[in-house]
Amino acid sequence: MVLITRKIEFSSSHLYHNPNLSAEENRRIFGKCNNPHGHGHNYTLEVTVAGDPDPVTGMVLDLKELKEILEREVMQRMDHRHLNYEVPELAGQIPTCENIARVIWQLLDPKITRGRLHHVRLYESPDLFADCYRNGASAAGKR
């Protein structure tokens, strides 16, 4: 099995606010991420697909195909968008790094038919990221 990883970057705005909590509780839990007009990040997404190279092409999957899937499923949905208001898949969820990574996994998994989605890592900043992989899969080789 070989792992192949493609990286993309997108820029989005968001804020953390739970309407079921009081303004005070929102402030206490989410801090400055609760500022009412939101803020933004440059996100970096790393998507890793696992598979055996095709004996004819030598590829697990064509990177161009992966690039098109990422463009369609992630870039068009999230790049230069407000994650709270413009991404229906995140509706009703706090758009944390954890939740965005999970939504991205759920969007990509059914679209990747050559090889198998192995790992999604989403960086909100260089010092904060979320990892998503199939439960039971070994953490080894995730990077």
Binding site: N20, F30, D131, N135, A139
Partner: protein, 146 residues
Amino acid sequence: MNSALKLELGRRYRFSASHRLHTTHLTEEENNRVFGKCSNPYGHGHNYVLEVSLSGAVDPAMGMIANLSDLDAFVQRHVLEDFDHKSLNEDVSAFRERVPTTENLCIEIFRRLQSFPKARLERVRVEETAKNSFEYDGSNEEGNRP
């Protein structure tokens, strides 16, 4: 949460510390042979990067595995306060008897962070320089080097 998926939260921290790789179990010659310039008597320092990975259920009200302010405070209290701008050999009791290699540093940090109450500690990863890094996930607890 969809149980077919496993989610982890990763956070990076930085600290600067000095160390010297040297053990009284070896002769001076052997120390020099094994540790090379890392055994120079007055020690040297690194800008370390610590990467902490946690797993657990995403709290639906917060959308988080753990609140970063809780994690930051815990890492600050249990690791950074003791290690940052310190001599690992002289200032950290765990390294009085154990060589402060980055392998052993990973193990020590894992032990200190394991009791984080809000999520499960999956692993720690330490970059000693941009060129080398070490990881520890708590397995093989008994097999640590002296």
